[in-house]
């Protein structure tokens, strides 16, 4: 049974579709909302709601410390968390390529269940389609999610003011380095794995300690550089960070040196950047460090009135330079 594969019939809505649902999907995702197997889920919400969606198309599908399913749940949980919400319900849409191993689907679904359980969210509705071989890359997953906004919070770059402190929840670049190394056949020590994790417990604790946190963002695609640039631009403030303060693992630096990347631009899947009023920075840092996903949290810089819209980096040697918006695809360098 281990080598059973997805066929076009699994997506045709007939008996095989039902079997796939009953034998692979439901055993993992089972909950009262989903078990209704109705056209949609009906849920109760308490007040102001956050709503988000994201699609996942990563290659390789499995990498050290995770797989596409982990990304699909954590990504949407984190997007909700960064808006100041408590994530509640998630939808999962999967597009499967004809010939995809059912065992791989099972592994991915199992990881999604584990992550949903950890994050305390329910997968309440979903959909599966199958496309012909060559029309997809194994599996594509879309998740959408809704959550309750934590009362008293208001996350917006417009609240960012000069003097605020910039906090980062831990080491950067681990996820991208893991995936890039996998894609390019580089061997990394087992200690380097994706940082993919649900951050809702972390952000909730931070917001409970300091409801007037101005901005929370997870530096995914485009990395820390993209997030800081977006906030600098939206807030019309400058952001100045310290190279020495950035937590980067030696192994990640090594991958970057070989492939010609800058860790500031690498994607993270379990990190959070917070813009916090200066007087609350110490307390928020302390709260972050109590959470397993924030134990290496640190202060990386501050908001300035100087250089509005720009991000500066104080280099280790004492120079200063701009950190630009990332341009597009990362390509390896020549020598």
């Amino acid at each position: 049974m281990a080598d059973e594969r997805i066929t076009m019939a699994h997506g045709a809505g007939g008996k095989l579709s039902q079997e796939l649902m009953q034998e692979v999907i439901l055993p993992e995702f089972s909950n009262p909302y989903l078990n209704e197997l109705h056209d949609g889920a009906t849920v109760a919400m308490s007040g102001k709601v956050a709503f988000t969606t994201d699609s996942y198309v990563v290659q390789p599908l499995f990498f050290n410390g995770g797989n596409i399913g982990k990304l699909a749940i954590c990504g949407t949980v984190n997007d909700l968390s960064m808006t100041g919400a408590v994530p509640r319900y998630i939808s999962v849409g999967m597009i499967l390529e004809e010939g995809f191993l059912i065992e791989d689907l099972r592994r991915i679904a199992h990881t999604m269940r584990e992550m949903a359980e950890e994050a305390g969210v329910a997968i309440v509705t979903g959909d599966t389609k199958v496309v012909e071989r060559g029309k997809a890359d194994g599996i594509f997953i879309n998740t959408a999610g809704i959550g309750d906004i934590i009362p008293g919070t208001s996350i917006s770059p417009h609240h960012v003011k000069p003097g605020m402190k910039v906090l980062l929840s831990g080491f950067i670049g681990d996820h991208a380095a893991t995936v890039l190394a996998g894609r390019h056949g580089l061997e990394l020590p087992d200690t380097i794995k994706t940082d993919c994790a649900p951050l809702n417990s972390l952000t909730r604790a931070m917001l409970e300690a300091a409801p007037d946190i101005a901005v929370l963002r997870d530096p995914t695609r485009g990395g820390v550089a993209a997030v800081l640039n977006e906030i600098a631009e939206a807030s019309h403030c400058g952001v100045l960070i310290d190279e020495d303060a950035l937590p980067i693992r030696e192994e990640v630096r090594g991958v970057c040196d070989i492939l010609g990347f800058d860790p500031l631009y690498l994607a993270n899947e379990g990190k959070c950047i917070a813009f916090v009023p200066a007087e609350e920075a110490d307390e928020v840092l302390a709260v972050m460090r109590e959470n397993p996903y924030g134990k290496d949290a640190c202060l990386i810089g501050e908001v300035t009135a100087e250089a509005p819209g720009q991000v500066g980096l104080r280099t280790a040697i004492g120079g200063i330079r701009i950190v630009d918006m990332p341009l597009g695809n990362l390509v390896p360098r020549i020598c």
Partner: protein, 370 residues
């Protein structure tokens, strides 16, 4: 030597900058030091070194980015080979976006050409084995650093009896380019920050002509910001003394004679030949050509193409930028029509290109510091 703490490094950097400034005070002109290597250019910008230096000490970038000095007609040839249905092109990733006279490899790829990014030319051997019905062509560009692995690839292909692997070769040599710069009356430099990686292969002796024939100081330099500052200090010191020596600030890996094994592999496969440099033109014996014994691996000898010589793009001043005659800011296209996402000149394409570094690290756009 025990490793310095970050504070000690910062302190030393401050002292070096102060010393450089003190020595530069008496100078009768603005002192210009050229970093020849693109990796140095990026390291200098990344560390923010330019802004740390006194007003009358300037760092100028030279022709040390292999993508940048590769002329249009080479790219046109690569694109023409790529468009044939019986070929697979293997290349370093940087080459994809480099504009030829009309299009780029990336556009050819989008139109269906089989172009694959490799991290070492040796990866091309497997591609050739997996596709025996195709001609696999590696785009062999770069300086003394990439030539040995390109040569090793040819040698391995020969040894393994692989008959469908070829090179489209545009290997270049650094010392003849420095000579051409110094012979150019428009170029004015007071000393060279000499390339670290290239020198690992060539050794330092190949640069002796700088002092003997041009009375020009040079320091072989590593890529750490502190090494670059130390080199600048040593160059300043030589200028102040009126001296011209080739010194080595990268002694941990660079030796006078270089790497005999790497040089041997290159010599087996290649011989010096005249080569065209974008923006500089033809420089005698500044490139490498595959020897007669390896002509079967040279795609240009197997399938010669008639491609017209490349023409410069109107307004683009890459040629002068590559010789350190103008800064990117002085080019009318820089940051306007020519940006990394829509590069017109090659110096904006490669991550190690001078214009790309100026743009990325905010020269002329940045309001922190001075």
């Amino acid at each position: 030597m025990t490793a310095m703490t970050k504070e000690e490094e910062r302190e030393l950097a401050k002292r070096l900058v102060a010393e450089i400034g003190r020595m530069a005070e008496g100078a009768d002109h603005k002192l210009r030091f050229m970093e020849v290597c693109g990796t140095h250019t990026v390291a200098i910008f990344r560390a923010g070194l330019r802004q740390m230096l006194p007003e009358n000490v300037e760092l100028v970038s030279g022709p040390g980015c292999p993508v940048c000095v590769t002329p249009d007609d080479y790219m046109d040839k690569a694109i023409a080979y790529a468009k044939r249905s019986d070929t697979i092109i293997t290349t370093f990733g940087d080459m994809l976006k480099v504009p030829g006279s009309k299009s780029s490899l990336m556009e050819a790829k989008a139109e269906g050409a089989d172009i694959r990014i490799v991290y070492s030319p040796l990866d091309s051997i497997q591609v050739a084995k997996d596709n025996p019905e195709k001609k696999v062509i590696f785009l062999a560009v770069g300086f003394e650093t990439t030539a040995p692995t390109a040569a090793a690839t040819v040698l391995a292909a020969k040894q393994q009896g692989i008959v469908n692997l070829y090179m489209l070769s545009a290997q270049k040599l650094v010392p003849p380019a420095l000579r051409a710069l110094l012979d150019d009356p428009d170029v004015r430099v007071d000393g060279f920050i000499l390339p670290g990686h290239v020198s690992v292969i060539t050794g330092t002796e190949v640069f002796q002509f700088l002092t003997e024939e041009y009375h020009m100081p040079g320091v072989v330099t590593g890529f750490e910001p502190l090494q670059i500052l130390r080199s600048l200090y040593r160059l300043m010191k030589q200028v102040t003394e009126g001296a011209a020596r080739i010194e080595n600030e990268y002694g941990s890996v660079v030796h006078a004679g270089g790497s005999p094994a790497a040089k041997h592999a290159t010599d087996l496969v290649y011989e010096p030949a005249d080569a065209a440099w974008r923006g500089i033109g033809a420089i005698p014996l500044s490139g490498l050509r595959m020897r007669e014994a390896f002509k079967d691996y040279d795609i240009e000898r197997l399938l010669p193409l008639d491609v017209p010589m490349g023409k410069n793009k109107p307004g683009c001043r890459c040629g002068e930028v590559l010789r350190g005659i103008v800064t990117p800011k002085e080019c009318p296209l820089f940051g306007k029509a020519c940006v990394p996402t829509h590069a017109i000149g090659p110096c904006m394409v490669s991550v190690e290109g001078v214009c790309a570094a100026w743009y990325k690290y905010g020269q002329g756009r940045f309001s922190y510091g001075r």
